[in-house]
Amino acid sequence: MTYEEILTRYEPVIGLETHVELGTRTKMFCGCKTDFGAEPNTQVCPVCLALPGALPVANRAGIEATIRIGLALNCDIAEWCRMARKNYFYPDMPKNFQTSQYDEPLCTDGYVDVTVDGKEYRIGIERVHLEEDTGKTLHVGGATGRIHGATESLVDYNRAGIPLVEIVTKPVPGLGALAPEIAKAYVAELRDIIRSLDVSDVRMEQGSMRCDVNTSLNRPGEEWGTRTETKNVNSLRSVERAVRSEIIRQSGILDEGGKIFQETRHFQETTGDTRPGRSKETATDYRYFPEPDLVPIAPDPAWVAELKAALPEKPSAKRARLREEWGMSELDMQSATNAGAVELIEETIAAGASPAGARKWWLGELARRANEQGIELAEVGATPAQVAALQKLVDDGKLNDKLARQVLEGVVAGEGEPAAVMTARGLEVVNDTGALTAAVDEAIAANPDIAAKIRDGKVAAAGALVGAVMKTTRGQADAKTVRELILERLGV
């Protein structure tokens, strides 16, 4: 049974719940720092450890970021709402309740438009609400780092209390076979929007953005099926695979007349399958109630209007505009977006480079380096201004492509600005005809056969002599000048 055949008999309904860790300087309900990777339990205080008597106070920056996300997703912003307590037990959750939002979310009823295969799809947003993260449990003494076989469990509360925003879509029916691709495109679009707001680094691999994927299947014309929830999917590709594998798995059960149980499932990165987790048959009663330790949130409508007016250009609109301005193909633009290069290219052009020049360095040499080192393009070690300066040296004929790559290497290694690196490494193109004539004559003398061919009119053979001259001048000669000299010396 192929995937396409399955989709002729079943209609998928998907829904996504995305958690985004906000990049606020301090935690949501206390003044502790939020630096990633700090020593365990060094960013904690009585409040985030839930010591007896400690009380939360809401971080305005967290509320502001949530409202901006809501506005960017076309949501209505509540004029008055409250935080709620979600009561459940977990060893790394200090209060044994999570301060979250329940029936009074800060943002409701928005949408995100995504384009797949040239067609636009609208994904409805049910709600955007604010909550706090938990700590992390580490199991030590065992071979695997898992709880089985561990001799001790240690808890790191540094992450406890970091603001999280949860973005919940409405159930999305009618996507057919494209459901997995559209789910992926939605998460990508969401990531770009949030990145453009500068409220989170939205790194799925570091867990600052995590996705739960809900999938159900129904036969055409029938009611929606029972959904499963695949937890903590942590890459765009996995979002797509998780939806697809759930569609295949559920159709297999339904084909045999079986029933889908509402349950939590876990995505297996290695196999692309989902495995069962906690059954929802014994659903937890979270005993939600309004958080009495926090005053209600009542954002001033004037402030919300101000935030709305100051929203950055939508990434999709910006991409379309820039693609036009830069004369790039859809595919090039896509890879620039995926590499996080759009802003860098933009700044490089602003610093004086041509769009083609800027694109060449960021999507070529620098993207390759970032990839090799597993880092973000922005961290690769060159600034847009440096890239623009480099390209100008090429445009001015002071560097050729090969030499420019060597200069860039020096820039990335921290040897200084492009012009300085060029001088220090002695990489400038040699245009001095006198010095080149000797090298050309030498090449002609060493390759009499080729010289004869050229004299006979086979001008294309000159390339071989150019190569030989480049070799003796270690690439520093200007190829165009060399070629002209060769033809001149051979009297062609």
Partner: protein, 487 residues
């Protein structure tokens, strides 16, 4: 020289400021008194002799000054004190030393008030008799066979036994006022949000209010002024100036209440109170009329639902607030022998760590908040709370303050109500409406019934704490203070 332990805080302060006595002498006198009588009263769970004397010495060296500098104080054990054990009278926190001070404790220290120690209470402030302390009850200095009220029985008894001139209490449903009433002392619940809850081990967050316990109204006002005021660490703390309660108390002391309208709550004057309590209350009203006050009967029809609403809201919040006591980070941990699951360790810890009343309320609250019952119980109770607030608001359109007895009965003998929780809950019948509303209220001694103190309650609109102090001081000037029998 007169006995320093018998003096009011205001008088002690005068002597210390005039350098007629040293703060160390004052602290020593109280510490010695504690040593002499506390084995019979058991007002204290922990005495910090060293810390108190050190703080007193700083005052004597002139390092700290202020209206109450050098006046010692006892602090209810539900308020965190850095480095001093804080247990909320529960086994689950036995020996826990907080790494930080509650905001009100910071303010006491800044004011130069030596902290004598931590006072006994009902476990996690749940109770009306201090019989639910995990460390044994406190005895009422008026009759050692009777309860000192609850949950702040330790703080009230410490005052009545002259072990401390001032104490800190917390009031969730009457835990400052009811012990004040049954020990013949003054207890004030400030406006909710007027005093910071930061560092107060939470029982019911939307109700808990720390406040002053004293032997005179002026002393209570002086302490109120030290601890009240906005605290950015408590989101529910009110960012407004504190009313001048000290001036109001001094004004009231002059005994003139002309033009002041006192509302008598009709629903509180019917049955329910002991005859002696009703009589003392009536006599006090007459005394207040003589000072020029006008008595107006007002109806607050929803007050009759306050008790059931409270006994849904408070346990609901407590079931969530006490969830943090799980044996993971601090306090007791039972059964962690390497062979038991997390759930088993948590369960054994709570089984051993929480007393019966605490468990009862956690179970009630868990039930009331559960999804199938939320609307019927918690939701309904919140609606009642709104109605009670409206009762107060409409009453305060007609009168300046509301008055009632503080408790329907005087101190009862130990064990007489523990077998019937509902009988115990009735002790807070008159005090609870104010907590649901959030306004301030005070209990002032107003006479005796069967040789035991009776309390008079004055309730005011939110942030009108000064108004209640004025009436309270006037009443005190008319009926005098009470002196317990010698221990």
């Amino acid at each position: 020289m007169t006995d320093l332990t018998r003096m009011s805080a205001a008088d002690l302060s005068k002597l210390i400021t005039a350098k007629e006595v040293s703060a160390v002498e004052v602290a020593t006198a109280h510490l010695d008194r504690i040593s002499a009588v506390d084995d019979r009263v058991h007002a204290f769970l922990h005495v910090d002799r060293e810390g108190a004397l050190e703080a007193a010495a700083r005052v004597d060296r002139g390092e700290v000054t202020g209206p109450l500098a050098g006046v010692p104080i006892a602090v209810k054990d539900v308020v965190t004190t850095k480095g001093i054990p804080t247990t909320a009278a529960s086994k689950i926190l036995e020996g826990w030393k907080p790494p930080y001070d509650a905001t009100i404790v910071e303010r006491l220290k800044k004011a130069g008030m030596p902290i004598l120690g931590k006072t006994n209470m009902d476990e996690f402030a749940m109770g009306s008799s201090t019989e639910y302390s995990a460390y044994g009850p406190t005895n009422n200095p008026w009759d050692l066979g009777r309860i000192p009220g609850g949950s702040g029985g330790g703080s009230a008894a410490a005052l009545a036994a002259y072990e401390a001139p001032l104490a800190i209490g917390t009031d969730t449903g009457g835990s400052i006022r009811q012990p004040g009433a049954v020990t013949g002392t003054v207890g004030a619940k400030p406006t909710y949000g007027g005093t910071s809850r930061y560092g107060l081990i939470a029982f019911s967050s939307s109700l808990d209010t720390p406040g002053p316990c004293a032997r005179t109204v002026e002393d209570a006002a002086l302490l109120h002024a030290v601890i009240a005021g906005h605290d950015p660490r408590d989101s529910t703390s009110i960012p407004q100036p504190v009313p001048d309660v000290v001036a109001a108390a001094r004004l009231g002391k002059q005994g003139d209440l002309s033009g002041v309208k006192l509302g008598v709550v009709k629903e509180f004057t019917g049955d329910g109170s002991e005859p002696g309590v009703s009589a003392a209350f009536k006599d006090s009203l007459e005394a207040l009329v003589k000072l020029g006050a006008e008595i107006v009967e007002v109806s607050c029809p929803n007050f009759q639902y306050a008790l059931p609403a409270y006994y849904l809201i408070a346990p609901s919040e407590c079931s969530s607030n006490l969830a943090r006591f799980d044996g993971v980070r601090y306090g007791l941990r039972e059964g962690d022998d390497g062979n038991r699951s997390l759930e088993e360790v948590m369960s054994l810890t709570r089984e051993a760590g929480f007393g019966a009343e605490v468990k009862r309320r956690i179970i009630i609250g868990t039930y009331a908040l559960s999804s199938g019952y939320y609307d019927a119980y918690y939701g309904q109770a919140q609606k009642v709370r709104t109605l009670i607030t409206r009762d107060f608001q409409s009453a305060f359109e007609k009168v300046d303050v509301l008055v009632s007895p503080t408790t329907p009965f005087v101190a009862f003998p130990f064990g007489s109500r523990t077998s019937d929780p509902y009988q115990m809950y009735l002790a807070d019948l008159f005090t609870i409406p104010t907590n649901l509303y959030g306004g301030p209220a005070i209990s002032v001694p107003c006479g005796l019934s069967e040789g035991l103190p009776v309390g008079f309650q004055i309730m005011a609109p939110t942030m009108a704490d000064d108004r209640m102090y004025r009436v309270a001081a006037a009443l005190e000037s008319a009926v005098g203070t009470l002196t317990p029998p010698a221990l």
